[in-house]
């Protein structure tokens, strides 16, 4: 029993405005992009004849296809790095730290930057990466290099360094959750039955945390695919991902072509999520 009867009409009245808002500000605009991408002339009008001419144009330009490949490659690279680092951190926080207070403090230090501005965090990386930046100063002082490395700012390496610091949390968070849900008795039982610690991890802990890993990987994949600000700020105008391409084409007034890029980006994101969900039934997450 609660303050609302089961299937009460009031529930529809409460859910209605939210549904309408999501439909008008999220679903309709997204579907509209698909429609615009099929417009065959540059004039912005719903009277446009429909066709796939802009899609054909995209795939005939190797430079554009390369941007698509670069974007997917960057996402896969980030998934690999944040997956490994994130699992290690999650395992430490959820299993190895015994004092609840210490665990909470470390966990908060880990998640709080997520709630601050990503843009500001990107700016904060710039003094680190430049020729006179902190990393180069440190490398010079330690005599690892004898000349400043120019490759950090305006490069893939710099973008990757910054993105790892932004997105590792997304990979680790769901793993922390699944690790905390594994009953201690399960591991103890395996140890009693003389399984080696490595075997316990491999046969029990890892399979049980798989849903968390997959959700984390989905979050990292979606965020890196859609990230354009890091590339813009750290990569300068030398590097572009699909998001940057949408902006460039929008600013030059090629709206249907910009929509084609947007649709391809969304299609890649959906395909990636579909593949990842094949790995594991995420709906089982939360079940013991």
């Amino acid at each position: 029993m609660s303050t609302l009867r089961e299937r009460s009409p009031v529930a529809y009245a409460l859910a209605g405005p939210v549904t309408l808002w999501m439909a008008a500000a999220l679903v309709a605009p997204t579907l509209f992009i698909v429609w615009v991408s099929l417009w065959t002339t540059r004039t912005f009008s719903t009277a446009n004849p429909l066709g796939v001419v802009n899609y054909v144009r995209f795939f005939h330009r190797p430079a554009y296809v390369k941007v698509l490949a670069d974007t997917v490659e960057q996402a896969l690279l980030l998934m690999a790095i944040t997956g490994l680092v994130g699992y290690g951190i999650a395992y430490f926080l959820a299993v190895k730290v015994e004092r609840p207070g210490v665990r909470l403090a470390l966990f908060l230090a880990f998640v709080i930057p997520f709630w601050t501005s990503a843009l500001i965090r990107t700016i904060a990386w710039i003094p680190f990466l430049g020729v006179g930046g902190v990393i180069n100063t440190a490398l010079l002082a330690l005599r690892v290099v004898d000349r400043p490395v120019e490759a950090f700012l305006f490069s893939r390496a710099g973008i990757t360094l910054a993105q790892v610091s932004f997105y590792t949390l997304l990979a680790a968070g769901p793993v922390v959750y699944t690790l905390r849900n594994i009953p201690r008795s399960l591991r103890e039982a395996a140890h009693c039955l003389k399984a080696s610690p490595l075997r316990v991890f491999w046969r029990i802990v890892l399979p049980l945390t798989l849903p968390g890993i997959v959700i984390g990987q989905i979050l990292v994949f979606l965020n890196v695919m859609a990230d354009f600000a890091t590339a813009q700020a750290i990569g300068g105008h030398k590097l572009a991902y699909l998001g940057n391409l949408v902006i460039m084409l929008y600013e030059s007034g090629q709206l249907p072509f910009a929509s084609v890029i947007a649709v391809l980006l969304m299609a890649c994101m959906l395909a990636g999520v579909a593949v990842l969900l094949k790995v594991v039934d995420v709906r089982r997450l939360g079940a013991p």
């Binding site: 609302l4 939210v18 999501m22 500000a25 290690g88 430490f92 709630w115 500001i120 979606l222």
Partner: protein, 276 residues
């Protein structure tokens, strides 16, 4: 062969080093920016610091005309406030509706969560296209507000679902059994008990909207919000004023999220102690 105890300790130390190393890596740029924002008037955007001063903060307040950040700051604050209030109201409504398990609540759940999954830049892009066809002008208080709420609402919604999940239903039942109407029970029993969660949702909504950039990019008209103004600075020579601004906004976000977490934790502890 080394004993299992030693091996476990080695794993613990290695993972602990990884975690602490990552935390340093994650916080170092933010703290460096904070430190460099206090550099002297001759200081630049990197080390070494030239003296310590509040020069760049004063500069922020002084600058007029094009680089004046105060109007965008006011817009961002107003927008974040509107988003936080709307998020709180909608999140409670949506979570209450979910508790009644209405027909289609499964689809409704995914519809709301779609707001987190959808790429922000493209949602804004879609809004810019559709409003162009419909002849609606872009503005921070209308179109930007619409797409920000799509982003902030799911977080409030999930927070409220979690709060209702550990909520002691017997207190509501007691109210209803004693003859209070459902509305009175909600107003006098349910709402006061979940209030910390509601305020938490509002604060999350505030900081998420205040810092949001990708969704604002295409959806905001000529009157820009703070993140857009900051972004426009990227193409110019960086100045420590940007660090001062970054430090200020980070402090605002940290205060909002810190209070939200404190509230939610405090209420969790109270709920646990009232249980037998």
């Amino acid at each position: 062969m080394i004993g299992w105890r030693t091996r476990q300790r080695v794993v613990k130390v290695a993972l602990g080093a990884l975690t602490l190393g990552f935390l340093a890596y994650q916080w170092m740029p933010i703290l460096t920016m904070g430190l460099l924002s206090f550099t002297g008037p001759d200081g630049g955007t990197t080390f070494p610091m030239r003296g310590v001063s509040l020069h760049w903060y004063r500069e922020l307040l002084r600058v007029q005309s094009v680089d004046d950040f105060k109007p965008p700051m006011a817009r961002s604050l107003a927008l974040a406030l509107a988003c936080s209030l709307t998020t709180a109201v909608f999140a409670v409504a949506a979570a209450q509706a979910m508790r009644a398990r209405f027909r289609g609540s499964g689809a409704f759940f995914y519809l709301v969560l779609l707001g987190v999954m959808a790429p922000g830049l493209l949602v804004g892009f879609g809004i810019a296209l559709i409003t162009r066809v419909l002849g609606i002008p872009l503005a921070w208080y209308s179109t930007t507000f619409a797409v920000h709420l799509v982003w902030t609402l799911p977080f409030g919604f999930l927070t409220m679902l979690a709060v209702f999940n550990r909520f002691d239903r017997r207190l509501e039942e007691a109210g209803l059994t004693l003859g209070a109407s459902r509305l009175t029970t909600f107003r006098r029993i349910t709402l006061p008990l979940v209030l910390p969660g509601v305020i938490g949702s509002a604060l999350f909504g505030f900081t998420l909207s205040f810092d949001e950039f990708a969704r604002s990019f295409f959806s905001t008209g000529s009157e820009q919000t703070l993140p857009l103004v900051i972004y426009a600075q990227f193409d110019r020579q960086l100045q420590p004023t940007l660090y001062a601004l970054g430090t200020l906004t980070t402090v605002v976000s940290l205060l909002a999220v810190g209070s939200a977490i404190a509230l939610l934790r405090g209420s969790a502890r109270r709920t646990l102690t009232t249980r037998p």
